[in-house]
Structures are given as C-alpha cells and as structure tokens.
C-alpha cells in the first residue's frame, strides 16, 4: 500500500500536499501532513458543521480556537474549560487511555494559564451484565481516571456513566477540565517575536503514541487493535504535577511570550499551531529534543505523543530565568528552536534541514469535506435484550429501574475519585444535580456533563436539544445560570450517509438549544469513526456546562430535606413518553419512536424560575426529572435526603407519567406557602416524610428497599 494511505491520507489529499509543497513530500513532511490533516487534528468532516454553533455570549472571554474556552465568573476571574475524548486509546488500553485523557485535558487548561480545579468525565461502555470485556474496560478506565486526577491533586467532582450495547466494541471516555485564572493573566498560544526561543519542557520524548491521532483516533476500530497498543501513550501524573506547577510559576513570573501543550500529534501540531496563530515561522532541531531512546528518527520525534510536555516561546534574555524555574521544579527544559520571519515550519536534524513545511497549508488548508447526510433506510441499532421480568407492579418496576446499570448509584465509581482536594467542593457527587465549587470572591460555579446517546439515536435533532437542556436543568437545580458550554461529538464514521445525518441533525439540535438558552459554545472536540465490527456507537454528543451562582451557602441539593415540606412538580410543556426511555430499554423495545418536542422559550423561563427559587432559598430541594422518569426522580430525592415521601397525583397515574421521559420538569420541595410563587407552573403532588416512597394507589416501597436496589446495583452487576 502507498505510504500515504498507510498514514490515513487519501490519494486526493496526497495530490493536494504535492501541490502545496510543489514537490513530493519526504518522510518527515508526509508524517507531519498526515497528522495535521487527520480528522482528529484537522476536523475534516466536522469543521463546516461546527461553524454553525453559536459562539457569542455576554460572559464569554475566550471562544473556540484556543486550548480551552473561558467565561467570566466574577471577581476578575475566568473559568477555563473544555471536554475532550480519549475513546480509541481507552478501547485499546483502558487504564492508560483514560489516564492520559485526563492528563491531556488538564494540559489544555493550564496551557492558557488556568489552575485546574475540577475534572468531570463522561463514560460509555457495553452492557456490564453481559460482557466481561465491558466490566474490564469500566474497571480500568475508572481506575485510570482516578489514578491521574487523584495523583495530580485536581478534584474529580462529577460525571456520567451509561451502558449500552452499541458501545461494546467502542467505549467512550470523555474528560472535561475546569480551571480558574485571573482574566488579565490569560495567555495565548500564538508564537511571536522573531528570534525568540522555542523551549520544550516536561517529559522526555519516546516512541509512545506514534500515530495516535491518525492511525488510532481517525479510523474505525478493528481486529488488529492489539497491534495498536504502542500508539497508546503512557501517563505519569507526577511528571504532570511538576509540569503544572512549573508552568504556572513561569506565567506568574511573566517569563513567557506564549504557551502551548503537546497533545495529539505532539511537537508537530503544537509548533504548527503556535506558528499559524502568530503568523510567523518556526525552526526546530529535533536532535536537541531530550529522548528516551537514542535512535529515534526525526519523523518519530516530530509526531511522538509522549505525555507531559509543553512548548513555550521565550525572549532570549529570559531564557536563563526560565531554565532556573524549570530546574527548581525538576522539570527538563531545552531550547529546541526559534521563531522566524516567514511562514515555514522547518525541521532540522542536527543542523541539517529534513523538513520544510508551509504552516498555513498544515493548519488552515486541511481539506474540509461536505457531508452527504441521508436518514437510514433501515434501523441502525438492534433492540436491546429484554431484562425486565414479566408481571411487575409499579413498585417492582421502580426497583428494577433503580437497580439497572444506567440508574443505580454511581458510588462505586465516584468513591475512587478525590472530589474534595482544593477545598472548594460544596456539592459532591449525588448531593445535587451538578457539582458546586466555591470561589475566592464569595460566589461559586456549578459544573455538569450530560449526554444520552440512546435518545439521540431515536431522534438526533431532539436528542441533541435534550443534551443541552439536561445540562442547563442540572445547573438550575443548584441555582446556577449557564455561562458557557463545551461539547464532545462522539459519532461513527461520517463518510457513511446515515452517520452524517445523525451528526448534522444532532449539531443542529445543539445549536438551536444553545441559541435559545443564550449559552455560547466555547470550544470542544470531535471524535468520529467510533465503530467496530458491531456497527456504530449511538450518536453521543456530550455537553459540559459551567454556570455561576452568587452564594454557595444556598447551592441547591437534590435530596428532600425536611419532614412536612411540600413536594411539587414544576413543569413546562412536559409530555413524558416511553420512546427512548430507560423503561423501554429494560423491556427490550426498539430504539425508535417519537421523542416529545421541547418548547425552548418556555423551558428557558422554567430553568430561570427554578434557579431563582433555589437562589432565594425557597426551594429546599430541586431535582431534574431525567432517565427513569418521575418515579425514579422521586426515589432519588428520597434516597439523597434519607427520608420518605407521600405522593398523591389526585388522578390515576399512568405509566407515561411515572416512567416516561421528556424534557421540562423538576421535582422540588419546600414550605407550602413558598411554592405559591411558581403559580400554575407548580403542581403540588405530596409531602416529605415517612419511611417509604408512597404513591397513592400506585406503589409503596420502604426506603431500605429503594436503597438496596439503588446502592447495590452497580457493584452487584460488576461481580
């Protein structure tokens, strides 16, 4: 096979490269092009779609294009955040794949000068009950995330975890990081100042992760994946901890002109992007790069994805000071090149020119393809296996749902993460619908990450809308107003029309929901080609949001708080239905049907009303009704509060009301007179108290039974 095809380039792309260079590329140049023009780095199939997303908002400080986006959170501070995927590495080697996913997103955030304060993760695996492989992937991915986050001292405060057949071959590991920085201290990655020195600092460069972005991340998974293990990087959180402290110390002392992390495509993409943004050229000498193995080829050095490395631009007279700070933190630092006048990325090997590349062609002229979307002619996904026993009453159905892999307590996973380091965590996992972290100036931020692939599979547009709504609703329950959104688009092979259709429709849904809620997209990541022998994954846009709330002392909780409080349903246009629900899944029903529509204008007002109720201290609990429907939401409120509830709908409760799903409703509790402010939007449905969840004429389940099903669920499925 032609070398360029082995590297993932099409014949057409190769011809384009020859045209740009006005000659045939050599080995180094071809390697560099293949990575910069990979889907992972070049967004060939998604760039046009991403441009349709709204990127303006009142609190926006830094939008897409930098290492992370940033929004103002008050007190002169900004929150920097981004979500990224590490799906294929995690499918091949889950511990290191997940660990380096966390390491990579941390570097993105401290590359703009922000100190990381929170990690969230969004995970998808195959059915744990049926699959030893999925149990293995889950155990090791969770351990890998914990290993990296716990060791580096950044709190893992939230996340989500779902199990569905289509993720069996191709798991998803998305990691989000949130950091804090004074707005005036933000640093960008544009190289500047001809004659300035390029310094590589951090770990030595080895042969790990060669071709990670092209061979692994931008192709479908297949049988030969064991051979791809060398393309997975190995993480060292201790090295990154030193790198983090060293980078922030360098910035604190004002020693850097620009800073950039080395992620996918290593030195190649970091240097090319720094040069492109600064509209300058860069000369690098690969022989000056500290290596783990002496005999590495120039192209290997350029594309290695060895972890825990950063690149910075330094004025020559500051170089000694920079090296001294790195020395204090026991971090390797080496001048490997300089900023040049012009627009070439030139690669030298001990002074000999081995690659001469046009920066603009590398970064900005990667071909962008039009998708050819077409709805599937036949269903893409098989119906899940039925797991719900026959003849259950409503109480039995509720217990089955609570014990199911998707709804059982996530304690088994989140207890493996340090959620408190940093002394900011006001709401830990399972205490509220979003994590809440307090800030120095007295306010707080709330963060959440959400996505539901099965619902997007049922209806990509409405599913995409729901992902944004779900995240916003979760923030509202803590009293937080969304400031910005980051997303990770996990889809199958976009060259197939039905996947292109899913992608196009889902992005349209995301965009419409963001515009309606007034939330800008600050950046994100695209992970395509998530297919194995068993077909594509569910289309899975994952949405992460950062919101602000004025008073951490009034951060909302999800658990019922006080005996005698009134329970109300606050809803707008809520029309829960069976399609795409957890109950439909347990019944083995086809991934099909019609998701309820969402009236975005009234939902924005609804979220604002809940947010105000929480902020004013009127609502003692607030919980978004999501997977499993109203009955599961009520059970979760009881479990989190350690107290029962008596519910009377005053009319027969049908299955759609109890277990149906759809956007637009919350379970809240508080003093009866205080709930009056919500007017017709609030429907009083019961009272907090007792030792069971009692729904008049429908079910009565003791708290202990609810707890047994919910608390034991995930651990029981694992063993």
């Amino acid at each position: 096979m032609a070398r360029h095809r082995e590297l993932g380039l099409t014949d057409h792309e190769y011809e384009l490269i020859v045209e740009k260079l006005e000659r045939e590329p050599n080995e180094v140049e071809l390697a560099v092009f293949s990575l910069m023009w990979s889907e992972h780095c070049g967004y060939k199939h998604s760039r046009k779609l991403l441009k349709t997303l709204p990127t303006e908002g009142p609190k926006l400080v830094m939008g897409p294009g930098e290492n992370a986006g940033a929004v103002s959170v008050g007190g002169g501070m900004v929150a920097a955040f981004k979500v990224e995927s590490h799906n294929h590495p995690s499918a091949v080697e889950p511990f290191q794949g997940a660990a380096t996913g966390v390491g990579g997103i941390l570097r993105d955030v401290f590359a703009i000068g922000a100190r990381p304060i929170a990690i969230l993760d969004s995970l998808r695996f195959g059915e744990v009950a049926d699959s030893a492989r999925s149990r293995y992937l889950l155990e090791h991915a969770v351990a890998g995330i914990g290993h990296y986050g716990n060791s580096i001292g950044v709190a893992t405060v939230g996340g989500e975890l779902y199990f569905e057949g289509p993720y069996e071959q191709n798991c998803l590991v998305n990691a989000m990081c949130v950091g804090l920085i004074e707005e005036r201290k933000l640093i960008r990655s544009a190289a500047a100042g001809v004659g300035n020195v390029i310094v590589l600092f951090g770990a030595r460069t080895g042969r790990d992760g060669i071709g990670g972005a092209s061979v692994l991340a931008s192709a479908e998974l297949g049988d030969a994946d064991a051979d791809k293990r060398p393309t997975v990087q190995i993480g060292d959180p201790f090295e990154e901890k030193k790198l983090l402290e060293c980078s922030l110390a360098l910035l604190d002392e004002g020693l850097l002109v620009a800073l950039q992390d080395l992620g996918a495509a290593g030195l190649t993409s970091s240097s090319a992007e720094m040069a492109a943004k600064g509209e300058v050229g860069i000369d690098l000498d690969v022989r000056r790069v500290p290596l783990r193995e002496a005999d590495m080829e120039p192209f290997e050095i350029m594309i290695s994805e060895s972890q825990e490395r950063m690149l910075c631009v330094v004025e020559p007279e500051r170089l000694t000071e920079v090296l001294a700070v790195c020395d204090k933190w026991e971090v390797n630092a080496t001048a490997i090149g300089q900023v040049t006048d012009g627009d070439r990325l030139r690669v030298f090997d001990d002074g000999e020119l081995v690659g001469d590349l046009p920066v603009i062609a590398l970064v900005d002229e990667c071909p962008a393809y039009d998708l050819a979307p077409a709805p599937p002619a036949v269903p893409i996904y098989p119906a899940p296996r039925r797991t719900l026993p026959d003849g259950l009453d409503a109480g039995g159905t509720l217990l089955s749902l609570l014990a199911s892999a998707n709804l059982a307590s996530r304690r088994w996973a989140f207890e493996q993460y340090d959620c408190i380091v940093g002394s900011r965590t006001v709401r830990r996992p399972e205490a509220a619908d979003a994590a809440v972290l307090m800030l120095e100036h007295g306010g707080a931020i709330a963060v959440s990450i959400d996505g539901n692939g099965r619902r997007v599979a049922v209806d990509p547009y409405r599913g995409g809308v729901e992902a944004v709504l779900e995240c916003s609703a979760n923030l509202a329950c803590t009293g937080a107003e969304p400031l910005g959104l980051t997303n990770c688009l996990n889809f199958g092979n976009p060259e197939k029309p039905h996947i292109a259709w899913q992608l196009t429709r889902a992005v349209a849904g995301l965009g419409d929901a963001c515009r309606a809620l007034g939330v800008p997209v600050v950046g994100g990541n695209v992970s395509l080609y998530n297919e194995g022998g068993g077909g594509p994954i569910y289309p899975t846009p994952v949405v992460g949001m950062v919101g602000e709330l004025p008073d951490p002392a009034r951060a909302g909780r999800l658990g019922f708080a006080a005996e005698g409080d009134t329970i109300a349903l606050i809803a707008a246009g809520w029309a829960p239905a069976a399609a795409g629900s957890e109950l439909a899944k347990l019944r083995g029903e086809a991934v099909a049907g019609e998701l309820p529509p969402a009236d975005l204008g009234s939902l924005r007002a609804l979220h604002a009303a809940v947010r105000r109720g929480v902020r004013d201290g009127v609502l003692r609990s607030a919980h978004d009704i999501a997977e499993g429907g109203l009955a599961v939401a009520l059970a979760e409120c009881c479990l989190a509060g350690g107290i029962g509830a008596r519910i009377d709908f005053g009319a027969p409760a049908d299955e759609a009301l109890l277990f149906g799903e759809g956007p637009g409703a919350f379970v809240v509790s508080g003093p009866a007179e205080a709930l009056a402010r919500f007017g017709a939007a609030a429907r009083i449905i019961g009272t907090v108290g007792g030792g069971s969840l009692h729904v008049e004429a429908v079910l009565d389940v003791p708290l202990a039974e609810l707890s047994r099903a919910h608390a034991g669920g995930l651990a029981d499925l694992l063993h």
């Binding site: 716990n150 201790f238 030193k242 933190w329 408190i420 006001v426 307090m438």
Partner: protein, 216 residues
C-alpha cells in the same frame, strides 16, 4: 501560632492545609530542598504524594533535606501533624510506629468517615472529648494501618492510639480500627483522614478545625 507546611514535588493537599492553618494562625510553605523551618511553632506534613511515590509511599520523602529538620524539631518536642501521605512519611522516618499498607479493596477510596477520639489529652486533640465523634473525609489507596501485635499492644497501653474509625467506618482494613497514632511524647500525630478538608461548613464539616486549632 505559626504553622509550617512542607511541600514536596507531588504534594496535593499542602494549599488546603495552609488554608486550614490560616483559619487559626499563620502558615508558611516549607520547600522540600530547604533546611530552615523558619521558626515555625508547628509543622504539618501534608497529604498528596511525594516524589511520585513510585517506591513504597513516603520512602523517598523521608530523605528530603527538610525532613531532617522536621525530625530534629519533633525529637525536641515540636508539634508535628502528618496527614495521609504525611502520616506515611512520618512512619517511614521512624517518628511514628507502624506502617500504612494498601487498602484491603486495593482501590482508592474517597469518603466522609466518622472517627472516635480515643486520646483527647495530646496537644492536637485537647479541644476534643474522649469518645467524641468527628466527621472528617478520608481519601487514599494506601491507608491500612499495620503494626505487629506487640507494637499495637504497646501503643494501646501507652495511649498512643489517638483516633479510631467508628464502628462500621473502617473501610481500609486498618488494624484495630486505627485511624491515627501519636509518638510516646504526644507531640507528633499522624492520621489518614484529612482534617484540613473539614474546616468549613460549606464543604461538609468543621470537625477538622478541632485538631488543627487545638495546636494554636
């Protein structure tokens, strides 16, 4: 009262310890390469990791230049508090008896735990009552306290077991439910749970202030 908080490469909870100490006094960071305790009245060896802990946890840190001074300070009766990795370091340094082994689950666990104050008469616990319950989070992979039975007997006889996990709370498998021990003189305390993470009602509990504040 002036606290010195040791910082190793890889320390994670040193800023948390500093913030906690500043609620009851002053606090300065002590760099691992330094050999000057800057005249502090008490030293906290914080949690997190030290030098990556690639070997046995705390095994490298005990040889840090600053630790020589901490040992000298401790042997002259100076107040020293070792939290989590700090506890492991103090055991490695021989300032405290016993060792910390991997949790029986072999997993990292982060959990709010209930502790019982067994000895309320050392400087670090004098604000507590004997038998009092403290709610303090713990988070570690290597926190199973172990010592040979004769040593455990001696610790009990000398009242050096300062904190135990309350019944049902010993998640890591520690011998005799031990969460924290002191040296014979009572000036050096090591514990696995994190009192510096229990100093603010907003983040869950203020019980840790009783320990840190008692020294002030």
């Amino acid at each position: 009262m002036r606290f010195g908080i040791v910082r190793f490469p890889g320390s994670c909870d040193e800023v948390d310890a500093q913030l906690a100490a500043e609620r009851v006094g002053e606090a300065v960071i002590l760099w691992h390469q330094d050999t000057d305790l800057q005249g502090v009245d008490a030293v906290i060896v914080p949690g997190g990791f030290s030098y990556g802990d690639y070997l046995r946890v705390g095994a490298i840190a005990r040889f840090a230049p600053i630790m020589g001074e901490v040992e000298r300070f401790a042997r002259h009766g100076g107040l020293v508090l070792g939290i989590c990795n700090g506890f492991q370091v103090l055991c490695e340094a021989g300032l405290l008896s016993g060792a910390l082994l991997p949790n029986t689950s072999l997993r990292f666990v982060c959990r709010q735990v209930e502790l019982e104050v067994v000895n309320a008469s050392i400087p670090w616990t004098r604000a507590c009552e004997k038998g009092e319950r403290l709610s303090i989070p713990a988070k570690h992979t290597t926190g199973r306290y172990w010592a040979p039975d004769p040593v455990l007997d001696e610790l009990e006889a000398n009242d050096q077991i300062v904190l135990r996990y309350a019944p049902g709370e010993n998640f890591n498998g520690s011998a005799r439910d031990i969460a924290g021990v002191c040296n014979a003189a009572g000036n050096v305390l090591g514990l696995m749970p994190h009192p510096e993470h229990a100093v603010d009602v907003l983040t869950g509990s203020v019980d840790g202030l009783k320990l840190i504040g008692a020294a002030a």
